[in-house]
């Protein structure tokens, strides 16, 4: 059935959102205009995803939606109902042990200021999972949606390739 945001529980411009964020169930009422990025950062305090451009051009807000990488700035929060959202906060092990890709970013100097890094990590994990880390050129192509103003690209490619070579 069509689910119109009804006036019964308030404005026709708000809707209840139920999803999981890094495995934790989340329920909250959202304005239909709100982006997933704004809900994560401003409502839930999940500040790993960054608002670089807010127009899908920089990749700093990259998260996984049901296992696929998306830009959360161009994802209306109302579309996330029923989905699993994973941000960089959900990547490390339960005891805080870094994910191998996070460790590889450190080992390969894949960041300077770090602002783009949460998006790079989420995009890099997806790049590996998709099987798009076969060689340097493929990594460059499939990581092109994540800009790095510091120019740490050489290290980022090396980090993603190193994890791909480990076969993890």
């Amino acid at each position: 059935m069509a689910a119109t945001a009804s006036t019964a529980a308030g404005s026709a411009h708000e809707l209840d959102l139920a999803c999981t964020v890094n495995g934790e169930p989340v329920r909250l009422r959202v304005d239909t205009r709100e982006s997933l990025l704004d809900v994560l950062r401003e409502r839930l305090g999940v500040t790993g995803p960054k608002k670089g451009c807010d127009h899908g051009q920089c990749g700093a807000c990259t998260v996984h939606l049901d296992g696929r990488r998306v830009v959360s700035c161009l994802t209306p929060a109302v579309q996330v109902t029923g989905a699993d959202v994973t941000t960089v906060e959900g990547v490390a092990g339960p005891d805080g042990e870094l994910h191998p890709l996070q460790q590889a970013f450190i080992d390969h100097d894949a960041l300077q200021c770090g602002y783009c890094t949460p998006g790079q990590i989420m995009s890099g994990l997806a790049c590996l999972a998709e099987g798009h880390a076969g060689d340097d050129d493929e990594v460059r192509e499939y990581m092109s949606g994540n800009l790095c103003r510091c120019g740490a690209y050489a290290g980022i490619v090396a980090a993603v390739r190193a994890v791909a070579e480990q076969g993890r």
């Binding site: 059935m1 069509a2 689910a3 119109t4 945001a5 026709a12 411009h13 809707l15 239909t32 205009r33 982006s35 807010d54 127009h55 899908g56 990749g59 990259t62 939606l65 696929r68 990488r69 998306v70 830009v71 161009l74 994802t75 209306p76 109302v78 579309q79 995009s123 997806a126 790049c127 998709e130 798009h132 460059r140 192509e141 499939y142 092109s144 949606g145 994540n146």
Partner: protein
């Protein structure tokens, strides 16, 4: 962003009903990568949004048919780009998808939404105070006297020279794709070549869909020219940018190595997906050589009407077509 009423639908029938009920100021939301972006800029200000991103009737695609390839309008660009049959037998179609946007956006964006993605003309996206007949009919066209590097060499008018930015539609027009639509009046089909309009005096009208009609499928007739195809896209940077110029070429070679079937379209330079029959005519019957490929490229850009800052695209485009012809030829089954 302006407030809007949001409706999520699960079926195509619900989508048609909801769109009709919401009136002329409503918009369909699928991947959101164009619409939601433009709503943030308040270039798009719909009163209502009908969300079709979970409509199962629109999802999926089938490239295994003997007569045609069928693509659901809700299929995601990333999924279709990866399809094995497409990569092998229609590389131009696959390349037109994976050379567009970024993997994040391709995971979100749908094939139907991509067909109607709106122009990247900076004066359209820039909003006030720039004049733009597409955004605000009658206000003028700031691009005519402005920075026109990204604007059209083909299909423009005094009212508008905004480029149609899509890669997928540029490849599809070369393959004689058909578009299936569904609306209050039922279902119908139209050639992709007639989906988009040139701006003329009414650049605000960009397509030939009737009010309330929804694109449901794209169908591509099976052709052996798919194997000998290429989508070449030249950008300001190596990846993740709109085309300065692109070329879709699909061809077959006869037993003597001469071009038999031949399909060529160019992107990044026209106000709609732009097939170039003169280039096809120039190439057909000839062996592919540096000279014949160049001649096809020159034919493609004959009649180009550059502005002040985009004339370089005539030579760039000529070479892009020529390179795409040679790449397609190297893939073609002789």
């Amino acid at each position: 962003m302006r407030p809007f009423a949001y409706t999520k639908v699960e079926t195509l029938a619900e989508a048609v009903d909801a769109l009709a009920a919401a009136g002329p100021q409503a918009r369909l939301l699928a991947g959101g990568t164009t619409l939601y972006d433009l709503m943030k800029l308040e270039i798009e200000t719909p009163s209502a949004v009908v969300d079709v991103h979970r409509v199962a009737d629109l999802a999926g695609f089938d490239t295994s048919g003997d007569r045609e390839l069928v693509f659901g309008a809700g299929a995601r660009m990333a999924d279709v780009a990866e399809d094995g049959r497409l990569r092998r037998d229609y590389p131009a179609l696959s390349e037109s998808l994976w050379r567009a946007a970024s993997q994040q956006l391709r995971n979100m964006a749908t094939l139907g939404g991509n067909l109607l993605q709106r122009t990247r003309c900076p004066y359209f996206r820039g909003g006030e105070p720039f004049a733009c007949n597409k955004r605000s009919p009658g206000s003028g066209c700031a691009a005519q006297e402005g920075l026109d590097r990204s604007n059209a060499l083909f299909g423009g008018s005094e009212a508008c020279i905004a480029v149609y930015p899509g890669d997928w539609a540029t490849a599809l027009v070369a393959f004689d794709a058909e578009v299936d639509v569904h609306g209050p009046g039922g279902a119908r089909s139209l050639p992709l070549a007639r989906l988009h309009r040139e701006p003329g005096d009414t650049p605000q009208h960009e397509h030939n869909l009737a009010p309330g009609e929804i694109i449901t499928r794209v169908r591509v007739p099976v052709t052996p020219a798919g194997r000998g195809s290429a989508y070449l896209k030249i950008r300001d940077r190596e990846s993740y940018a709109f085309a300065l110029v692109s070329a879709a070429v699909a061809l077959t070679l006869d037993g003597d190595g001469r071009v038999d079937e031949c399909r060529i379209a160019v992107g990044g330079v026209a106000t709609r997906p732009w097939r170039v029959p003169a280039a096809e005519q120039a190439l057909r019957g000839n062996a592919i050589t540096e000279a014949s490929a160049r001649a096809a490229g020159e034919a493609a850009f004959t009649g180009a009407r550059p502005g002040r800052a985009n004339a370089f695209k005539i030579e760039l485009g000529t070479r892009t077509v020529a390179d795409a012809v040679r790449l397609a030829g190297s893939r073609a089954v002789g």
